[in-house]
Symmetry: C2
Subunit: 289 residues, 2 copies
């Protein structure tokens, strides 16, 4: 399918991410339907005009009518849903997801999928520290990076379709990389950063801190408000890559500690200059970091 | 002195912080003068109306006319300046600073200071990752925490005067704590966070990262653009406290790593829940973190 205006898009899982997809696609004129286990979520989304139709159970007509499906579920739930319900999907439908890990799900999904369906994995690098459809906001995609992780089973058409989705959402940059490259990179930029925030937030229990802090502590711990169900699953599904990235970070941290202990001011300044020059690349590429 | 409108305030060091003090105090109607080694800084500040008078050398008339002095210098430079120029200060003048470490300077300053002068140390928890008077902005104080660190040599009147300064700047909360408490706390909320940002920014040299990152990596590395001259001095002047805080963080980080390696999902979730509840305190106390 192309991104033509009479496409019907189904969103499975209508939380913060699913809801944000619904808002963006609905505003662009697509017909959007959704499946969510929560009645109040579906009612809210219908009342607010985020979706045209919704169901709390896998509804054969709703699911069978969709030309494209976006899965916004936790990884394990996504695997279960497809195993149980793929027989309801329209022949030729294109499927994608939003999942933060790839290697541990994409091959399993493609291996079990009906041959007349295609699953092309993607991951919008966007989110918020709040949950649920009521907090969904299509602006989370604006300026975000959008990653597509095809395997040898994917067609160029599906990759192109998925890239179109990223651009429709308003992402600044669409990149294509392998599931393995994705997981290594995500272990660094996303999972390691969440580990650091959690460790930082739990290593000091001074209740007065809130009256003493500046912006740097707030920035580093914003993501310490963390969905424990989702992130524990993401961490463990990407364990090997995450442990490698944690060790690389711990090495650098230890090196800094040794310089401070040894009063090595020149060594510290050199590290800080390297850090400054690397960080500057990010400012040039993104407005208002 | 009280914060009465005919007070004359001298700012020594007219960078980002000194310039921001000048803007705030000038707008409030005080007469503000400044000493900076840079001619272009003084010219800019005069042209923009940030100050009423300025000098690039310690000018006896300018310095002797000030009822209050705010030192916005690096710690070592501050100690040198006072040693060389305190004879020029007006008898009874109140002195304060903006320095990010306290124990390693405040006792030395008070020990060498003329008995008719009083130095009351303070630290506004505000800043930006840019430098110089041209980037100064009085809004950095709005909503910030303001810390005062008296010693037994300080008078209650000087503490009250300094608290008035914090409130005039628009800080949300003025706290009084000992230099030692300050340094321990700053080792955690400020210096440790900068160490983490530098280690994170230097532990991976993938040039493609900028196309893959989300907001969490950007947030954690914003402060990885770091003034190496200033921060290396701050780290080494607070070495013992900083090393303790680094070790406490490294312990938590190692504990998380062990849980991930052992597939201890329940342990991870418990840590994440603790982290979430602690971070929530910060959101309740500050608008728009």
């Amino acid at each position: 399918m192309k991104w033509i205006s009479d496409s019907e898009i189904l969103i499975v899982g209508l939380g913060l991410m699913g809801g944000s997809y619904a808002r963006a696609l609905k505003r662009l004129g697509y017909r959007v339907s959704a499946v969510s286990r929560s009645r109040s979520t579906i009612d809210y989304a219908l009342a607010e005009g985020l979706i045209d139709a919704g169901a709390t159970e896998p509804d054969a007509a709703l699911i069978g009518g969709a030309d494209a499906v976006i899965f916004a579920l936790y990884p394990g739930v996504l695997l279960d849903w497809l195993r149980d319900n793929q027989q309801l999907l329209k022949p030729g439908a294109l499927l994608t997801d939003v999942t933060g890990v790839k290697g541990s799900i994409v091959y399993d999904i493609q291996a079990m999928l009906r041959p007349d369906l295609e699953f092309i994995a993607s991951h919008p690098m966007a989110g918020r520290e709040v949950y649920g459809v009521r907090n969904s906001d299509e602006r989370i995609f604006h300026g975000a990076n959008f990653l597509i992780t095809p395997t040898p089973r994917n067609s160029p058409e599906a990759v192109a379709w998925c890239a179109g989705l990223g651009r429709l959402l308003g992402c600044r940059k669409v990149s294509v990389l392998s599931p393995e490259e994705h997981d290594e990179m995500i272990g660094f930029v996303s999972q390691l950063t969440h580990c650091i925030a959690v460790a930082l937030m739990t290593c000091n229990d001074n209740p007065e801190l809130v009256n003493y802090t500046g912006d740097s502590f707030r920035d580093l711990t914003r993501i310490a408000r963390i969905n424990d169900e989702m992130w524990s699953e993401l961490f463990l599904r990407n364990k090997d890559a995450l442990l490698r990235e944690m060790d690389a970070f711990a090495d650098q941290f230890r090196a800094l500690r040794a310089m401070i202990a040894a009063d090595d001011r020149e060594g510290l300044r050199e590290k800080m200059r390297l850090s400054t020059s690397r960080r500057a690349l990010f400012d040039r590429n993104k407005k208002g970091t």
